[in-house]
């Protein structure tokens, strides 16, 4: 289990846990990120904000937020969940 900030371009991960306050959890789940969601990293941003793909949607995410999303590497062959 690693924070999303450590994931590199093109990798696909599964969200395990959202470790933040109410506002944080609510914001992310409303936009479609919650435990079980598969994310693909479009741009890891290195030191800046990241871009991730949730299905067909692209979401820009500040590093502070990404830090609080714990993920696990999913098999790179599996398809991104819709």
């Amino acid at each position: 289990m690693t924070p999303l900030t450590y994931v590199k371009n093109g990798e696909i991960v599964e969200v395990i846990k959202l470790t933040g306050g109410k506002y944080f959890v609510d914001k992310l789940t409303n936009i479609g990120i919650y435990p079980g969601t598969k994310l693909r990293i479009v741009s890891d941003g290195e030191y800046g904000p990241m871009i991730i793909a949730v299905g067909e949607t692209r979401i820009g995410l500040g590093r502070g937020m990404a830090q609080k999303i714990l993920v696990r590497l999913a098999e790179s062959t599996s398809e991104v969940k819709q």
């Binding site: 609510d26 914001k27 789940t29 793909a53 979401i59 500040g62 398809e79 819709q82």
Partner: protein, 637 residues
């Protein structure tokens, strides 16, 4: 909902949906020209209402703000929720992005839990089909007990079916008090839900189940509502139960409830959606993103784009401006000649030519430039680049204590600060919102553009775009500086984290870009027609009296006013009375600055020859800076 139907025969519809689902396209396609725009009570959030007829029935449709859910965390979501609860629309149409049903259905579930009748509108169906997503609408409709239709609003496909579905939805389960729909929150929670439901006793506003579930999640608005209706004990009980359940589950109630809802949605989609397996590869949009948001290239690209925008604005706009200028010169001559023929009094001729035509004409000369700037901004917005700009600027914005999203209102501020301030509502933190509003006036709005264009076209002919770009840049710098200063004084608070949807890049269509351009340009024209005319008339009046004096000379009322104010501007290098007067009237609206000058010096065409007598390039630049930074216009205040 029952009273609403009996009260009138009009069917009330609410239009809800996530942002970027084509909701307003649906709204426009349904209502056509039959719509009016206002504000939601108490907030500056635009409220659009329209109507249409179908099968001899009248439908009134209210466009709710684009939201992801119905929580109490942002203004938009609160508005949507309050409307659904208080106004009880007969049917709520939920516009969904067919390529992203999972997230879009979350909102639909929330609305269903509120006990509203819904129609699911699977919009952007063409894109979904193109991507190999096959959706069984009948199955979804059966499970959620609501009509489901596919539309492609952009190409006007499926609209008749949508209307039919709305009509059909009005007949759905109207006899039942609450709709028979629920997500299973697991056995343990369901027991508590029904206990809380019983404790609530009579309840007329919300469905009891909705109250019970939201209460367990700790929704602050619901807690507040129950306390107000003296049911504190229910809140206490729910909190107690919630803590107990949390201990059992190992994580918090809110996450649990949300997960159950998503679980339900996933199950629903498994049964109703088929996806062709495709290999995952970067699509074009992603490739573009890697370049445009690159940490080295991102900001330079953004600056280059903005600079190009201004270059185009001036080179192309200037070409048109000459023709408009010539037209007004000719028009003033024609009017003078015409008035001479009917022997109109001198003061009337002076009023029309020196006052109205010279003043308004001076401003309208800049319409092409403004239109082109608006068009450029519309194209940047519609293509999806604007969202990236905010994203790219996030780091920089963070440095001044704001986040990337604050950047969008600042860019819109280039158009006009008024809509820019309205757009700050997308910021979820109240403090970010206030700070963004405070620094917004430093953004060079379109009203200041005529001043820049006028002066640069006279004094900085060879590098007009660059000079204006520098002014815009200066405005941004001052805004950043003031944010830096204001932030620690007023708000000791960390900034809200950045999370924003990046719409896919697409080629903006001519039609939508023109519509967006026109929306803003017409606002400018409206102002030109009202505030500016009033200002110009006032200036003319002051410049003509006492009656025996020469028009706009130093002996007139305005001359005295200017003489009085001029010393203030002396240090800035333009201590003569005409400039002082122009800036003075600019307080009403920046547009009048140029209008005033036009009036005082006898028309736009003469400014080019007269102004160099008064200004050196340096003092001209300082005049422009002064227009940029001094008091904002009244409309904004």
């Amino acid at each position: 909902m029952k009273e609403a139907i009996e009260k009138t025969k009009i069917v009330h519809i609410a239009l809800a949906g996530n942002p970027n689902t084509g909701k307003s396209t649906i709204f426009n396609a349904l209502t056509g020209a039959h719509q009016h725009v206002g504000n939601w009570p108490g907030v500056t959030v635009e409220k659009k209402v329209g109507d249409f007829h179908y099968k001899n029935k009248e439908f009134e449709i209210t466009d709710l703000p684009g939201t992801y859910g119905l929580t109490a965390y942002s203004i938009d979501e609160r508005i949507a929720r309050d409307f659904l609860i208080e106004s009880k629309p007969d049917v709520t149409v939920i516009v969904m992005d067919s390529t992203n049903l999972e997230r879009n259905l979350y909102l639909a579930i929330s609305v269903l839990e509120l006990g509203r009748k819904i129609v699911l509108d699977l919009n952007m169906n063409d894109i979904a089909e193109h991507k190999g997503i096959k959706i069984d609408t009948e199955k979804i409709g059966k499970i959620l007990n609501c009509p489901v239709v596919k539309t492609d609003a952009f190409h006007k496909i499926g609209l008749e079916e949508l209307k039919a579905a709305i009509l059909k939805a009005t007949t759905f389960s109207s006899s039942q008090k609450e709709l028979e729909f629920f997500v299973d929150y697991s056995e343990d929670v369901e027991i508590e839900i029904s206990k809380i439901e019983k404790m609530l006793k009579s309840e007329s506003i919300y469905p009891k189940r909705f109250l019970a579930t939201r209460l367990l999640e700790g929704d602050p608005e619901i807690v507040h509502y129950l306390r107000q209706t003296s049911r504190e004990f229910v809140v206490e009980e729910a909190m107690h139960v919630g803590r107990h359940l949390e201990k059992n589950f190992g994580y918090d109630m809110e996450t649990w409830m949300i997960e159950r809802r998503y679980n339900f949605i996933r199950g629903l989609l498994k049964e109703s959606v088929k996806r062709e397996k495709r290999s995952i590869k970067l699509n074009t949009s992603d490739k573009i993103d890697r370049v445009l948001t690159n940490k080295f290239l991102g900001i330079p690209i953004f600056l280059a784009v903005m600079w190009a925008t201004f270059e185009i604005t001036f080179s192309v706009g200037g070409w048109f401006a000459n023709y408009i200028d010539a037209f007004f010169g000719w028009f003033a001559e024609v009017v003078t000649a015409g008035m001479d023929v009917i022997q109109a009094p001198m003061w009337l001729i002076s009023f029309l030519t020196n006052g109205l035509i010279a003043g308004v004409g001076t401003v309208l000369v800049f319409l092409p430039n403004i239109m082109i700037l608006f068009l450029a901004i519309a194209i940047l917005e519609d293509s999806g680049y604007m969202a990236r700009a905010a994203f790219v600027m996030d780091k920089l914005m963070h440095a001044i204590g704001l986040h990337g999203k604050s950047f969008i209102p600042m860019i819109i501020g280039f158009g006009c600060n008024v809509p820019a301030i309205m757009s700050t509502r997308t910021l979820s933190s109240e403090k970010d919102r206030i700070l963004t509003i405070l620094i917004n006036p430093f953004m060079s709005c379109s009203a200041r553009l005529p001043i820049y264009i006028l002066f640069t076209s006279i004094f900085f002919k060879s590098n007009q775009g660059t000079i204006v770009f520098s002014l815009y840049f200066l405005g941004i710098a001052v805004a950043i500086l003031s944010a830096k200063i204001l932030k620690p004084i007023f708000f000791k608070h960390e900034t809200a984290p950045l999370i924003m949807e990046l719409p896919p890049y697409r080629l903006p269509t001519v039609k939508t870009s023109l519509i967006h351009t026109w929306e803003r340009a017409s606002a400018f024209l409206k102002k030109a027609g009202t505030v500016i005319v009033a200002g110009v008339v006032l200036v003319w009046f002051l410049a003509s009296f006492p009656i025996s004096t020469e028009y706009a000379s130093q002996q007139t009322l305005i001359g005295h006013l200017g003489m009085f104010l001029a010393p203030i501007f002396k240090p800035a290098g333009f201590g003569f009375w005409q400039a002082a007067v122009a800036l003075f009237f600019g307080v009403i609206a920046k547009e009048t600055v140029v209008g005033t000058m036009g009036t005082l010096f006898g028309g736009e065409s003469k400014l080019a020859t007269i102004l160099p007598q008064y200004f050196a390039p340096l003092s001209a630049y300082s005049f422009m800076i002064m227009s940029l930074l001094y008091i904002p216009c009244i409309a904004r205040v």
